[in-house]
């Protein structure tokens, strides 16, 4: 009963939010829904843990539309945690936003905001669609969910009704819709691969496909995987299909950027993982792993090029997401312990990136610019945000003792274990370049003195806008210091399903 509730609660709340006129109760509804969703997710964890230790574990039956397996639960919990943090942050953010038309600080034109009811409603529908992606056990339903995430999130990017966010929204809508349409072709190719002229075909249920891989037609399965990779890869931000990502992430409100980067990209990645799971079961994992490695390293390289000398700090964070999506797909592509590392890294990256985007929102609100060289002395002006900005930077570049160090190291070790020294060298070199590039941007922002005018008019930082990023940052730190056995068991299960050990 947990799974349908996970989808229905945000769905109903979202529809309700569209019609609710009063701001206060609507914001309460947002946080309440996020709390209920997190509670249900925790219940799913308990259930999963019990199932793990019980003598007769319950397996997912063939023909199940919605169910939570290890991979689904892992991604769902990051979605849920991030959404809770962002909902709390969002209440503060929406409270600060003006209702009247106000001046855009880049183009100096007047603009107004989207009605808050639409924003909140779409935010909740976005949660519902991401939950659908995480819980669906059918490729068709998964596709429906991923396309729904695009449609629900497009209005979120256009919250500030001005030229640049509109441009970003259009690119996001069109590029992602086309990409996902190609993933639909992947679905049909998979259906061709499973078709058996003698008997009735399966309806593309993941469990069916994984349990009866013998019936799969290898060339068509490979073609299907290719289209899944390109299609969902567009949504996930793998280079060279990432072009929408920096625009959408830099122009949307920071709370939306955090959700797009931390939760949505993972959901798209889950689509690719499902296809990879079938490839592993059918014994063509060499093909899919090779592609994942190539796209992974390619994304890291493209991201490194654009991070060096980036002038806009939100775009820098966006390119960093491209880099980390590359790391995830490289990890899965390496096999072995790499898949374990990728699962862990997905979680670490989501938490860290959400922390960074929320802090970036605080910096943006205080300095009213996204240009790196106009921002100095964040540590002095916003003490807590400044610490989190540096902490987030350490974490995102994989410095110990953060959890990202653990996961990136696991992937490096997998590369060496699998006998791929060239991949390992490239991986390390790109990580080093990105470290240098980001350090050159983040540290000058944090250090130095803010301008006197800004310093005079400084205010205390609001608890609502610093607590969620602080919690995310501490969580990554905690994972780096101690990985609970339940989580290890879960990551092991994910890893085995993805052809690792």
């Amino acid at each position: 009963m947990i799974v349908p509730a996970l989808i229905l609660v945000p769905l109903c709340a979202g529809l309700l939010a569209f019609w609710w006129r009063a701001d206060g109760p609507r914001r309460a509804l947002l946080v309440l829904t996020a709390l209920v969703h997190s509670g249900l997710t925790v219940a799913a964890w308990v259930q999963w843990n019990n199932n793990l230790h019980s003598s007769a574990p319950i397996a997912i039956l063939p023909g199940t539309w919605l169910a939570l397996d290890a991979a689904g639960l892992l991604f769902l919990s990051t979605v849920s945690a991030l959404f809770l943090g962002c909902a709390i942050y969002g209440v503060g953010y929406l409270g600060r936003e003006k209702h009247q038309p106000h001046i855009d600080y880049e183009e100096h034109l007047f603009f107004s905001n989207e009605p808050e009811a639409v924003f909140t409603g779409c935010l909740l529908l976005f949660l519902a669609s991401m939950t659908l992606v995480c819980t669906s056990q059918n490729f068709g339903l998964l596709w429906v969910g991923v396309e729904a995430t695009t449609l629900a999130s497009a209005p979120l990017i256009y919250f500030h009704r001005q030229h640049r966010s509109l441009e970003a929204t259009w690119k996001y809508l069109l590029i992602c819709s086309v990409g996902i349409a190609l993933a639909l072709l992947g679905n049909f190719l998979l259906a061709v691969a499973t078709s058996d002229p003698r008997g009735p075909t399966t309806g593309l249920f993941i469990t069916d496909l994984v349990q009866n891989p013998g019936k799969l037609h290898a060339p068509w399965l490979k073609a299907a995987f290719l289209f899944f990779l390109v299609g969902y890869g567009t949504k996930m931000g793998l280079a060279p299909m990432h072009t929408w990502l920096p625009d959408a992430h830099s122009e949307s409100p920071s709370v939306v950027s955090a959700l797009l980067s931390g939760a949505l990209l993972n959901c798209a990645f889950l689509g690719i993982l499902r296809a990879h799971q079938v490839c592993v079961a059918a014994g063509v994992e060499d093909f899919s792993q090779g592609l994942l490695r190539v796209f992974g390293l390619g994304s890291m390289a493209i991201a490194a090029v654009f991070i060096l000398g980036q002038v806009d700090f939100k775009r820098m964070l966006a390119y960093s997401s491209v880099e980390h999506m590359g790391i995830l797909s490289l990890g899965v592509g390496l096999g072995g312990r790499g898949a374990f590392g990728a699962g862990l890294h997905a979680m670490n990256h989501s938490l860290t990136k959400a922390c960074l985007f929320l802090v970036a929102g605080n910096i943006l609100a205080a300095y009213e610019t996204k240009v790196v060289k106009d921002v100095h002395g964040v540590r002095r002006l916003l003490p807590l945000s400044g610490i989190l900005w540096i902490g987030g930077f350490m974490s995102i570049t994989g410095a110990p003792p953060f959890g990202t160090f653990l996961s990136e190291f696991t992937i490096l070790k997998a590369a060496l274990d699998q006998g791929r020294p060239i991949v390992a060298v490239l991986y390390l070199a790109l990580l080093a370049v990105i470290f240098i590039g980001m350090a050159g941007i983040v540290l000058p922002m944090a250090q130095g003195e803010p301008s006197a005018a800004l310093y005079e008019s400084r205010r205390r930082e609001a608890i609502l806008s610093t607590l969620p990023p602080a919690v995310f940052c501490l969580a990554v730190l905690a994972v780096g210091l101690y990985l609970p056995p339940t989580m290890t068991a879960m990551l092991d299960e994910v890893s085995v399903a993805l052809g690792g050990n």
Partner: protein
Amino acid sequence: MSTDLNLVLVMLANLAMLGSSRLSACIRLSAAQGILLSLLPLQLELAEHKLAPRLALFALTILVLKGVVFPALLMRTLRTADVRHEVVPMVGYVSSLIFGVIVLCFSFWVSSRLILPHPAPSPLVLPLALSTILIGLFLIISRKTALMQVVGYLVLENGIFIFGVALANKTPLLVEMGVLLDVFVAVFVMGIAIFHINREFDHIDVNQLTSLKD
């Protein structure tokens, strides 16, 4: 009307769209394509001498959505946006048509090299689905008007639909309907976005959406 004739008419609509300079003509062509496609599942089932009621419902939904609702939405956007009624190509009409023919030959060549696990209902299905997909992608990247890009997206979707209906027709109805719902909402949201683009910029020429870059 045979399946072959239907598919060839779909292809002719593609070619006409490549050579057409009027937005409204392209929208009407996409409507015609939608109506033709709604007949496709019925023709395929009738060829096997059976017709399930769920299929009739499915075909009717396609007819209403692709043949009536999408074109009506786009036409409405065209009217409210009150823009220049031309598609503004980046690649000329003549070159586009030549591209269409080349794509067609390429699709036939590719299809001749692919081996389906079970025979297709018509040898035209695979090549024409492939060329419709490619022409849809080409329309998206070669036309500057935002509205025309939506038409290109619909053509792309139609190509995938041909492939799905003819070769993978055992997909559950629930999924098919979900896909249609998503495409419907996509066209709807894109229509709203175009309306806003027109209001903000006084044009819907995506070539001028260039303020975001590195």
